[in-house]
């Protein structure tokens, strides 16, 4: 109450300004906090799978897509994985580790989940790493891309069905070096994933003989106006731009790239998150001709993918995204591991995962490497218009 009484003694105009300032600072401090929610309930099935996905906050659309992908696999297999009935418990990862880490721990300690699947945010994944490693519980990461998760901080109990930031960016380097005659400008948001993406791309790009015109990191999550950066890019004389953005920033960047007249003159490249799913819907025709690297596109021409896209559309009413596939594959991985393991203890499951072999996925065949990360084919994609909507057409395979 000290602050309040001190406040009430101030002269009125000063008090008003103080309140305003306090409100402004409080707002600046709190990003997207969120409330927890969970399925709970007692077990009626054989194996309990904890889904740790963002149901609120900026990543909520990804959480919905991942949940739909996981659920689709379950539905296609009669609610069973590896012959065992699955009970799904969901917890809200929220917008960051402050909500995601406790939610993940709760799935294991309170809900007694045998395995936890999901995790969108890399900071949450790294924050949960020690907990899962020390309590010897299995965590299957279906998105978070930080290199360290399967690198410096790898664990026997943590496996990843998605990608690593460095790899998804690096795979485009030689292609851009080959296609672009001249220097390339790199731009990404100023946070861990942005730095890893840029480092990964820059390394493979320069190794292939590419030249960098400049590199810029923009404030993460608060940049709405890219005009100053776009002007700098134009001034640098770069012949092409490589950029990593996702979500709202990807929409803003690609639309303004067009508005400020760079599109059409200076080709735009980037990791596939620049033009994936709902982001591409919002960008619309402004994204045409953007070229990206990713391990999935709805346009992949293989029977497994065609069947998957049709089933997903029928269930959800929207085309799937790379995030749906990553969660779908996490279910496929568990299906195989549970079928192989003699019991559902984490050490047995890990043993089974080690000999799991290739996974036949909508994205093509992939397998786990010794570091528990995916070894997969990356594709070169280009945004094209197709019957009124916009899609990431596959134009090649990347090495």
């Amino acid at each position: 109450m000290g602050i309040l009484s001190a406040l009430s003694r101030l002269p009125r105009p000063t008090r008003a300004v103080t309140v305003l300032t306090a409100a402004a600072l409080a707002l600046a401090g709190c990003g997207g906090s969120s409330l927890n929610q969970s399925g709970g309930g007692q077990s009626g099935g054989d194996v309990k799978v904890g889904l740790l996905l963002p149901l609120s906050g900026v990543y909520a659309p990804l959480g919905q897509e991942m949940r739909a992908g996981f659920q689709l696999y379950l539905d296609q297999h009669g609610g069973k994985l590896g012959g065992r009935t699955i009970k799904v418990v969901t917890a809200d990862e929220g917008g960051g580790p402050q909500t995601g880490v406790p939610a993940g721990q709760k799935l294991v300690t309170q809900d007694q989940a045998t395995v936890v699947v999901g995790v969108v945010n890399s900071a949450t994944a790294l924050g949960l790493r020690d907990f899962f490693d020390e309590s010897k519980k299995l965590l299957v990461i279906a998105n978070a891309g930080a290199d360290a998760i399967t690198g410096a901080r790898k664990s026997d109990y943590i496996w990843r069905t998605s990608f690593s930031n460095g790899a998804v960016a690096a795979t485009l380097g030689p292609e851009v070096a080959k296609e672009v005659k001249g220097k390339v400008y790199l731009i990404a948001p100023d946070y861990a994933a942005g730095k890893e993406m840029v480092a990964g791309f820059r390394k493979s790009f320069e190794a292939a003989g590419g030249e960098v015109a400049g590199e810029k990191f923009t404030p993460f999550g608060t940049t709405q106006d890219f005009q100053p950066y776009l002007s700098t890019i134009r001034g640098s004389g770069a012949k092409a731009v490589w950029s990593f953005y996702s979500g709202a920033e990807a929409v803003g960047f690609v639309k303004q790239y067009k508005e400020f007249g760079l599109a059409g003159k200076t080709p735009l490249y980037g990791p596939g998150f620049l033009t994936e799913g709902g982001v591409l819907d919002a960008q619309g025709r402004d994204a045409i001709k953007v070229k990206t690297s990713l391990h999935y596109s709805t346009e992949l021409d293989n029977p497994r993918n065609k069947e998957f896209v049709a089933a997903y559309r029928a269930k959800v009413g929207k085309p799937p995204t790379v995030f749906s596939v990553q969660a779908y594959d996490a279910a496929a991985v568990l299906d195989k591991a549970l079928a192989k393991a003699s019991d559902t203890s984490a050490p047995e499951l890990v043993k089974a995962l080690n000999g799991i072999g290739p996974i036949d996925s909508p994205r093509g065949q992939w397998s786990f490497g010794a570091d528990h990360n995916v070894r997969q084919q990356y594709y070169l994609r280009e945004v094209k218009s197709s019957g009124g909507t916009f899609v990431n057409a596959i134009t090649g395979e990347l090495g």
């Binding site: 309040l4 002269p11 009125r12 105009p13 000063t14 008090r15 008003a16 300004v17 309140v19 305003l20 300032t21 409100a23 402004a24 707002l27 600046a28 997207g32 906050g57 900026v58 909520a60 659309p61 919905q64 810029k216 990191f217 923009t218 404030p219 608060t222 940049t223 709405q224 106006d225 005009q227 100053p228 950066y229 002007s231 700098t232 134009r234 001034g235 979500g247 709202a248 929409v251 803003g252 639309k255 508005e259 400020f260 007249g261 760079l262 709902g278 982001v279 819907d281 919002a282 960008q283 619309g284």
Partner: protein
Amino acid sequence: MATYLVSMLNGLAMGSLLFAIALGLSLVFGMMDVLNLAHGAVYLVGAYVAVALVADGGGLAVFVLAVLAAAAAGAVLGGGLAALTRAIPHHLDQALLTLGVALTVAELLSVAFGNEVHSIAAPAAVAGSVTVAGETYPVYRLLVIGFGMVLAVAVYVLVERSQLGSVIRATVADRPMVSALGINTGRVLVGVFGAGAALAAVAGVLAGPILGAQPGLDERVLLLALVVVVIGGLGSVRGALLGALVIGQVQAVGAALVPEYASFLIFAAMALVLLLRPAGLLPAAGTAVRV
């Protein structure tokens, strides 16, 4: 040099939008002494009105319709907020109440429209680009600057030169005295609250083609508006205009000059103003002497 010129132009466009947003917040706080934290949510309502009506572009007529619909929705929301906050004298209680309204409105919007990022197309007629100082610049943003100028003049004439304006200014300065003169200050307050909220909602539509619509945008916009009000001074039209222009320029030119510090430059500007002129650069005449 041309680069900075375009950045300044861009700062003007952002400043115009910020002026439209912050004006209501400033007048309501200066006049009713209500800290309306639901102001950002009102802005977001406007943005989603645009999503619902304009979505994939369309003619100028549809866009104007969206502006009018947003103004109506904003006015209704503002009137409701005025009624809600009237009985509560304390800043903290008002802040909590309006914050609750803001959270509820934002959640309802995300239930209705989903959590995806929505973009709003500029009307087809003005969706192109022109060359300014050797650089490509979107026509729509030039129109936003024009709107800001017209709004500034119109509000100035209304508040500083008309009889209604003198009642409004007098209410900001000394409410009991105005009601002692036989003027229904309650009606003035509700009117200003509604008009301010309508303006914020209109800004939501106009900013649509630049900022789009998504959950969380309300908080960012409210934050900027609060900074504008702190810098400009409470309850003053000229203060809100100056504050909006300053923040627009600090953001745009700051990002061009020192991109590393762009994210907190506006707070540095706010801190500087608080140090040198704690009441803001141009506070309303009455509030400066009132204790």
